[in-house]
Structure formats: structure tokens, C-alpha cells
Amino acid sequence: MRYLPNTRQNQRAMLDAIGVHSIDDLLKKIPPKARLSRPLHLPPALAEMDLIRHMRQLAATNADADETVCFLGGGAYDHYVPSPVNHLISRGEFFTAYTPYQPEASQGTLRSIYEYQTMIAELTGMDVANASIYDGASSLAEAALMAHAVTGRGEIVLAAGVNPLYRRVVATYCQGLGLRLRDVPAPEGILDRDAARRMVGGRTAALVVQSPNFYGCLEDVAAAAELTHAAGALMIVASDPANLGVLEAPGRQGADIVVGEGQGLGVPLSYGGPYLGVFAAKQEFVRRLPGRLVGATVDIDGRRGFTLTLQTREQHIRRGRATSNICTNVALCALMATVYLAILGRRGLARAGELSMAKAHYAAERLTRVPGVSLRFPAPFFKEFALRLPKAPERVVARLAREGILAGIPLKPFDRKLGDGLLVAVTEKRTREEIDRLAGALTKAVA
């Protein structure tokens, strides 16, 4: 078998060296009643060519973003990924290593993570960033737990514009510790500031705001931070780092913790994962951060080197008193983001952001000229916006899909009050022509 190099002769020689007759003799500690007495019921092994054929058939039934014109967002975006990203992360020395427990033999991973931490800190305007968490949703959950640990308070207040899937994950993570979650309404698509002022108080560990939020709207983070800090609570901001070449860094708007989904930074859509959980905070919270941190230091010859550090926060040292249970994270996705950000660089990220913003605004303008279609919310938006349609969005989406256009995400499953809502995202990859095609198809679909 091709992944198993031991030949029969090898096996015989090894068994002889061990001093047993058969492999079964090595399993004698397993009591008979603990053994499976039959083969596993699995489909027969497939030869490589047959397996490839089967997998291609499975893949072909999916409407991927290459075959279609994709206006789907809602937390995952069809941004362009430059070729070197996949080539570099595929190098076996990165791809097939593990957590750099032996730093002398892991400087490549460690140095790239240190670069990642630097880039994320710079983008978010924060002092420190960790070496990544599973995804945006679990980053937000970890931030909520951290705010609870820092403040000793038991209530997390979330703006209703926070991605509803993230809110469910936060609720899952918080149920064991009995943290109370409260939602501030967003009747106009953004945080109702008066309601927030009433709800954020002495029991509040943190207020969570996402900007741009799930509906694409930009929130006034600075104003939210002000009312949060007045109550002695922490300001958690969820942000898409792919936008931060153009949009102001949350750190400069008063955030104490910034989390986000980093998928837009070179990570494939991959039906939802693996993605990249961004987590950054102010320096004063560095010993409370979840997950890994890489620090610079020197070796015994005085050379610069990098190592995992402040590990007494982590589960493998602190066990039940760790800041988080995270162990395996998404280091390779962090490397994708690092290479992506190195390629786009200072001006490229701003350019990609500008293109997304401009095309989204063109699309909004173009689509709201379709009879019966209007913007759902009046707030300013960046690369994504909610529309109100005169016909059931599910049916419109199904009809446009037949023309090869993934028109957007119906909002009804996320909020019943938004039954006529369609969320449309436009990245730098969409062309003016594709947007015009969407407008044309939508005109017919709602007529």
C-alpha cells in the first residue's frame, strides 16, 4: 500500500527484533470484548484515477465562484488571490510542519507569524495581535470571554448588526460560564445609540460592534466606544481586515479588542473553512490574550531568533486556568494572509479596497434603478449593501442562478423582519459589465 512503506520482510524483521510472532501479539492488551470482530463497513478502496473521477463529479455539482458571477458576501468574499500565495504556502516545509515547539527548527514558521502579528497590528491599529484563531466567529467568542475575564462582569452587549452566525457562536461559547448576551436593536441597519447607552452599564463586560456590519453598513465606532468606556466596559470591534487599506483602523476609533474574519486576505472560499480568525488588542491585555504569540529574542550567540512566548497563558502549560482552550489554530491561513499582504503591500491593499468600494457603489446605484428595488438601509456602506426587492428574494436568487449569477444572500433566514432583503457584495473582481449583467437579469426577474 503506497502510504505504508513496511514490506513483509521489514515487518518480519521488526517483529523478530521485538520478540513477538505477529502484530496481533502486540495488541494483546486490548481485551477481546473491546475488539472489533469484523472489518469496518466502508466503501472499497479506490484507485487514484477512479477517486479523482469521483471527486471531480462531486465538485462539478457545485456552483463555484469561477463558473458563476459571485455577488455573495455575508462574511466570506470572492477577493482575488495572487498566484504566489498558493505556491508559497504549498511548500512542504511550511505545509507539513506543526506547532513550532522546537524553535531552532521552526524559524520559518515563527518568523512568518511574527510578520503576521506585525501586519495585523498595523492594519487594526492595535498594539498586539495573536497568531490566529479558527475564524471570525470564534475570535469574537474568545474576545467576549476575555472581556469577561478582564472586567469580571457577566454581560456582553451586541449590536444587532453583528453577523448573526457570529452571535450564535458567541452564545455557544458563553453558555457554560453563564454570561448573559443582550442585543441592541438596529432599526436603521446600524446601532441604535440611545438604546445602547441605556443597555451598556455597570454589568457590561463589553459592547460588540461590527463595521461594516452584516448588512454592509458602516458603524460609528468612535461614538460607540465613547459610551462603552463611559460605562467602564471594553469596546470589541469586529472588522474585515481586507477593508482596512481604505477604512480607518478600529484601534484609532477606540477599540480595546479587534477581531475579524481574515478570509479576504488570500484564503480560499472553501465552502466556509478553514478561514482565519483575527485577534488584536491593546498592550495592557497581552497576558490575557487567547492562543499563541510569537516573540523576538536572541540565541546564545546573540543572533536574532523567534519563539513562542508568554506560554503560561496557554492550555498546555496552564491547563484549566488557561486564557483559552485553543491549541491547533490556523497558522497556514495566517501565512496565506502574510504572503497576500506582502504582495499587495502598502498601496495594493488600498487599491483593492478602493476597487471593491467603488464597484459596490456603482452596483448599488445601478441596481436601485431597477423598478421596485431600493436600498434597505440609509447608512453609508463599503463593499456590501442590503436591497429591498419587490419579489421574494429566494425566488429571484434561484432564477438568477440559472443564468450563472449568484445574486446575493436572502436575509430572511437571518432576520424574519427582513423578508424582502437581499445582501449584495461586490469585490474588486467584479467588472462593470458583470454588474450591468446583474442589473439586467434582476430587472427581468422582478418584472
Binding site: 502510504y3 512503506p5 521485538i18 472489533l36 472489518p39 466502508l42 487514484e48 465538485a59 462539478a60 455539482t61 457545485n62 456552483a63 463555484d64 466570506a76 495572487p82 504566489p84 505556491h87 516545509e93 511550511f94 506547532t99 515547539y101 522546537q102 531552532e104 527548527a105 514558521t109 512568518s112 510578520e115 502579528q117 498595523e122 495581535a129 479558527y134 470564534s138 453558555q175 457554560g176 483602523a249 472553501s270 473553512g273 478553514p274 516573540g295 529574542t297 540565541d299 546564545i300 492550555q315 486556568r321 483559552s324 482552550n325 485553543i326 491549541c327 491547533t328 490556523v330 497558522a331 504582495i343 503591500g345 502598502r346 476597487l355 467603488a358 457603489h361 442562478a401 449568484l406 474588486e428
Partner: protein
């Protein structure tokens, strides 16, 4: 390390930056950028572009290629990191995960246009359920630790649904750190259960702790000393008799494929580390995936959504009122699921059983070759990994860490050191089934050589490593003066 006559590469991408240099290629706008910008309030816009590097594409390619060469990876080195199962990652898996229909599929694509992905998930859940003897599997957890959290939360919800409030979870003192950490997040108090001299659960101590306030017992199988708990069935019966649920940490699943199924043994919940047992790459620390399997009584509590099949159509089932909720922002680490599915379909039942048999054979061979030179933590035969102790060497001034560093010079990554915590100077070695006898012999020769050096020339061990890009690092300085991001020199 590759042959290289240049001084070891020591640059950060920021140090290659030159104002005005660029690597990006983006089209000119075909719509009006200024018009869009004018619709966004000025205070929301960044005044200065972020200080990212300004480098050429070749700068980027060469820099990260050079960085990669500063790493040991499984593709280049034997990597016997115990409990991590660093086995070969088949290249075919990568090609399959990169098929556009998988890699370029948006998670919120209408379900009818994602049937292939949903079918793959549904089938994989079924394959894993059969392999573990469980009734249902959720693929959602993004890593083993998230699977643990899901499992413990489901146990908590089950007790609550039965009108019971149980507040404690028992964890052996040999457990992975994630077990207690996950348990605490789930709102439980952690109670440590002692291991006996062989590293097996001390049944007397377990019995003492099994009170009416205990919700679960969490145990790694085979255990972290590399042994199959011979009395596991008895342990599970003891727990069940007290209404205690039993959780299996699946980190060591690679030892028992087709040989023993946790569900048959009586376990109520187990997780799988796809990056260990099912050959998805470890990526320098992840991504992994940690699906969780349950017996039928826990099925209603699985995280939402569950992939369901009706009339040949696959869909995400959200209507599960008893669910613990959602754990991952979307549906789990799908890219890893494609790789694991590819692997299982490549191997089939016989192949998977051979995997475990060869993993066990390789570990026992290593144990046999080393037992005269190092103390053995528990008597053999072991399962797919073994724990030896550098206790003997420590008396000569050579610690487990020293042995690890010397191995780096001799061309091997190191075993896990100081784990499990109950073994003094522990070195936990997991060869895996994908290594040949020749590689194991070379590794054992190196280990034996180090044991001999500890007696004859410990200085050479204390000097180690000398062939790596950097030598032993000042960990105290790293922790006392945290330097966590690059800053330009003033």
C-alpha cells in the same frame, strides 16, 4: 536544513521594503472611485495607507522560500512528535481540495447549487461514524479542542435535559491540556484523577471521585502513555452506573482504526483530529478539524446545522431545538473534510486497519530498540507511540530538552518533551505508519548515540543545536520583554 553556503537568512519582509516598489497587479477602475469615496463620511476613512511592506513579487517569493528552508517539516524530516501524529500528507489530497468546485465554493451558495459539497459532508460523517462506532457525527468543530468543547457542552445539555445539575468533570492527570481548558469554558470544575504506576487510570481514585455531581469522565484512548487502557470497558461501566458520561479524546485514534471502536466500548462522545489520523496537513500549527461523534442519546444536542438528506437531496438542517448552538462561523473546516474524505476513500477498510497495525508495529520497534538506553515510562507492548524518560541521562546532567536539541543536529525533529506531565523527563515518540524501518533505525541510532554521548561527552549535547539557523533561544528574555511586532529602527 538544505545545503546552503550563504550565511543563514535573517530578514523580515519589512526589512526588504523599498518605497515605491510593488508586487500587486490590479486593474484600473472601470467605475468612479471618487464618487464612491464621497459617500463615506471622512472620519471613517483611513488617512494614511497601512505601513505594509513595499516589495517586488520576486522579493516575496524568495523571502518566503528562504523562510521555508528554516523549517523542518514532515516532507523533509522525520517528525516523531508524540500525540500529534505527524504522518505523511498525501499530495492527492491537496489536488482534490483545490478543485474549483470545492476551493472556490462560497459557503452561502444556495444549497441546491452546493449538493456535491453537502453530499461529501454527509458521506464523511457516515464514514467517521462507522470508524468510531458512533451514531452521529458533526463535522463543524475546527480543531480537536473545539470538538472537546462541543462534546462537553452536549453532555452538559443532556444532563440538564434530564433535570440534573452536575458540576464536575473528571480528567486524568495524564490528559492533554486542552481537556481541562475546554471543560472550564463549558462551565465545569475540573477534578484530576490519578494514574497508577503504569500510567493507567487508578480505579480506586476514579471510584472516590465518582460522585453524583460528576457530569463526565474525559479520557484519551489509547492513553497518553501510549497504552490501551486494559480496563476501559470496566471504567466506562463504572461511570455509566453513576450517570456519568464518558468522553474519548481522539488524539490517538491512529492506533485503533478497524481494531477497536469507541462506540462499541461504551463511549458516549469522541472527537477525531482529522489532521492527525486522516492525513490533513498540520500547516505549522493548523488548520486542523475536530469532528465530534456521539451516541444517539446525544444526537439532538449536536451543533447546528446538521447536514441532512431527504429524497436524495442534501440540506443544512437548522431546526434542532435541543442543539447546543453554533460552534463555527459556517459549516466547519470544509477544505480539511475534502482531504480526509479523499484519504478514507483511498484506503478503504483494510487500508485503515493496516495503518494502525503498522503504526503499532513501528512504535513497538522503536520502544524495543531504545529500552536498553532510556528508561521506559510504561511496560510494552505500546500502541502507536511510546514514552521514554531521560531520567537516567538527567543524573548525568542531560535533560529531555537537551536530547531533543541534539536530535535537531542529527537531522530529526524532536519528540514531544515533558508530556505527559506524569512522566519525569518525558520524551514521547510517535513514529507513525508512514515511516520505513530504515528511517526508524536511523532515528534509534541517533537516540542511542545521544545516550552514549550523555555518558562520554555531555558537552556536545549541551552545545546543541549547532547546525540550525539559530541556536538555543533566550526564552526568559522573550517572556520578560515581549517583542511581538516589528518596528522600524529610529
Amino acid at each position: 536544513m538544505p545545503f546552503d553556503n550563504a550565511p543563514t537568512y535573517d530578514k523580515l519582509i519589512f526589512e526588504l521594503s523599498s518605497p515605491g516598489r510593488s508586487a500587486y497587479s490590479l486593474p484600473e477602475p472601470d467605475v468612479d472611485v471618487d464618487a464612491a469615496r464621497s459617500q463615506i463620511p471622512a472620519q471613517y476613512l483611513r488617512q494614511e495607507p497601512p505601513a505594509l511592506p513595499e516589495v517586488s513579487e520576486l522579493d516575496v517569493v524568495r523571502h518566503y522560500s528562504r523562510l521555508s528552508q528554516l523549517n523542518y517539516g514532515l516532507d523533509t524530516h522525520f517528525y516523531p512528535l508524540g500525540s500529534c501524529t505527524m504522518k505523511y500528507n498525501p499530495k492527492l489530497n491537496e489536488d482534490m481540495a483545490r478543485l474549483p468546485g470545492f476551493a472556490r465554493l462560497h459557503p452561502l451558495t444556495p444549497e441546491l447549487l452546493a449538493q456535491g459539497a453537502l453530499r461529501l459532508m454527509h458521506e464523511l460523517a457516515g464514514l467517521l461514524a462507522e470508524i468510531a462506532g458512533m451514531d452521529a457525527v458533526s463535522l463543524q468543530p475546527a480543531a480537536g479542542a473545539q470538538g472537546e468543547l462541543a462534546g462537553v457542552l452536549m453532555i452538559r445539555a443532556w444532563h440538564q435535559a434530564n433535570g440534573e445539575k452536575r458540576t464536575k468533570v473528571l480528567v486524568p492527570d495524564s490528559a492533554h491540556g486542552t481537556n481541562p481548558a475546554s471543560t472550564v469554558i463549558a462551565g465545569f470544575e475540573v477534578i484530576e484523577v490519578k494514574s497508577d504506576a503504569n500510567g493507567e487510570v487508578d480505579l480506586g481514585d476514579l471510584e472516590r471521585h465518582l460522585g453524583p455531581d460528576v457530569a463526565a469522565f474525559m479520557i484519551t484512548m489509547p492513553n497518553t502513555l501510549g497504552n490501551f487502557e486494559p480496563r476501559i470497558v470496566e471504567i466506562i461501566e463504572m461511570c455509566h452506573a453513576r450517570g456519568v458520561q464518558v468522553y474519548m479524546d481522539g488524539a490517538n485514534f491512529n492506533a485503533i482504526l478497524g481494531i477497536s471502536r469507541p462506540g462499541d466500548l461504551g463511549f458516549d462522545v469522541c472527537h477525531f483530529n482529522l489532521h492527525k489520523t486522516f492525513t490533513t496537513p498540520h500547516g505549522g500549527g493548523g488548520p486542523g478539524a475536530g469532528p465530534v461523534g456521539v451516541k444517539s442519546h446525544l444526537e439532538p444536542f449536536l451543533p447546528v446545522p446538521v447536514v441532512a438528506r431527504d429524497d436524495g437531496r442534501y440540506r443544512l438542517d437548522w431546526k434542532r431545538p435541543k442543539s447546543i448552538g453554533k460552534l463555527h462561523g459556517l459549516w466547519g473546516n470544509f477544505g480539511m473534510l475534502v482531504r480526509a474524505y479523499t484519504y478514507i476513500r483511498t484506503m478503504g477498510a483494510d487500508g485503515l486497519r493496516s495503518v494502525s497495525e503498522n503504526a503499532v508495529l513501528n512504535a513497538n520497534y522503536v520502544l524495543k530498540r531504545l529500552e536498553g538506553h532510556y528508561d521506559v515510562a510504561a511496560p510494552g507492548p505500546c500502541m502507536h507511540e511510546c514514552v521514554v524518560s531521560a531520567r537516567r541521562q538527567k543524573r548525568l546532567g542531560v535533560t529531555a530538552m537537551d536530547v531533543a536539541k541534539r536530535l535537531l543536529d542529527l537531522g530529526f525533529y524532536a519528540p514531544s518533551t515533558y508530556f505527559p506531565l506524569i512522566v519525569e523527563e518525558a520524551l514521547m515518540i510517535e513514529p507513525t505508519e508512514t515511516e520505513s524501518k530504515e528511517t526508524l533505525d536511523a532515528f534509534c541510532d541517533a537516540m542511542i548515540r545521544i545516550a552514549q554521548e550523555a555518558e562520554s561527552n555531555p558537552a556536545i549535547i549541551h552545545e546543541a543545536p549547532v547546525s540550525t539557523p539559530v541556536r538555543r533561544l533566550d526564552q526568559t528574555k522573550a517572556a520578560r520583554e515581549p517583542d511581538l511586532r516589528w518596528q522600524p529602527k529610529p
